[in-house]
Subunit: 204 residues, 2 copies
């Protein structure tokens, strides 16, 4: 390894350390408790060092969101229903979606409560839209296959995906904000929702 390469690798290491510390802090204490100063203190650096690796706080949060999204997509790609009928894959995907949201409530909240840590210029909205697109893609694949296989009637893809995603998001937020609800009730809500949405997809 060249000197240059070692240096770069060390830079990336600290960068990842910052990201991980921020992710931890977010997961443990929630968005309001995340501050540049706390992140820096956790890893034993001064606050200003963060700015050598991220443009500002919003940029840091954005990268935490992106990292989480990568893990999210990974999970959605491994639902364990790979060779099932497409509709079953779709349902498996919906369950995984909600499960991930419940496992990472603070990350999920930040990720899908856009503009919380962002200013509202167009570029960031585009990024946000692109982020949503990634989520759409996974749902869209199963849905397209389900229609192609004749499991459900054909319909315009985009509105259907939007609706499914919106419902998934709503149920995730509902459950995240109802921590007092027992696991059993959560399952009931989730399965009730899935039944409703699948029924809706079956009829045309």
């Amino acid at each position: 390894m060249s000197v240059r390469a070692r240096i770069d690798s060390e830079k990336q290491k600290l960068r990842r350390l910052i990201l991980q510390a921020t992710t931890d802090l977010l997961a443990r204490e929630g968005f309001e408790q995340v501050s540049i100063r706390k992140v820096a203190s956790r890893i034993g650096y001064s606050a200003t060092t963060i700015y050598l690796y991220f443009k500002n706080k919003a940029d840091l949060i954005d990268h935490v969101v992106d990292d989480g999204f990568a893990r999210f997509m990974l999970r959605l790609g491994n639902t364990g229903a790979g060779d099932s009928p497409p509709l079953r894959q779709l349902v498996a995907g919906m369950r995984v979606y909600i499960a991930f949201a419940l496992e990472n409530p603070n990350w999920y909240r930040v990720t899908f409560s856009s503009r919380l840590g962002r200013s509202n210029n167009d570029a960031q909205f585009l990024t946000e839209a692109a982020t949503r697109e990634k989520g759409f893609a996974v749902l869209a694949a199963s849905l397209t296959q389900a229609m192609a296989a004749g499991e459900i009637p054909k319909r315009p893809l985009y509105p259907a995906v939007q609706t499914i995603w919106a419902t998934l998001h709503g149920i995730a937020m509902l459950l995240i904000n109802s921590p007092q609800a027992g696991i059993k009730e959560q399952r009931r809500v989730i399965e009730g929702y899935i039944e409703l949405i699948v029924n809706g997809l079956r009829v045309r």
Copy 2:
């Protein structure tokens, strides 16, 4: 009017002034731009005066949320579909729900992104739950009637209402966060969603 009564009425007047200034600031500039100091400055008082009327910032925001909720409920009670069949009333309520959310995006975001301005002690979670219940009640009434009238199959009320609300919430957030979408596309998404959910309710 007694002296005491006049004094109390003036206190309430300033209290309402603070609430209204906060509501305005929230609507115009978004949650991140709301600060005690700005609210006070807008109405020509010092920041500390706010604390004579509200416990702290979270308390102030909570009351803004509650005020908005009262208007929300009022609108949901006047959908203009009062003597239609229950299922039609339900659909009208869903349209009003989304319309209100789109008219008050910043209020809606704060209201249903709980814990943003709140600490997470149990009492506040209970309040939050109670707040949700109010919204549930309106949906539940139409749904109960629709089942009683035989328009849709009978099913357990609570999970169904939760699911419908979750879907409404999801679609509202989706549209709020997609300001670039045209009105026509918005309508398409909304009607597509309503079709899906009503179809889902019709089948069992």
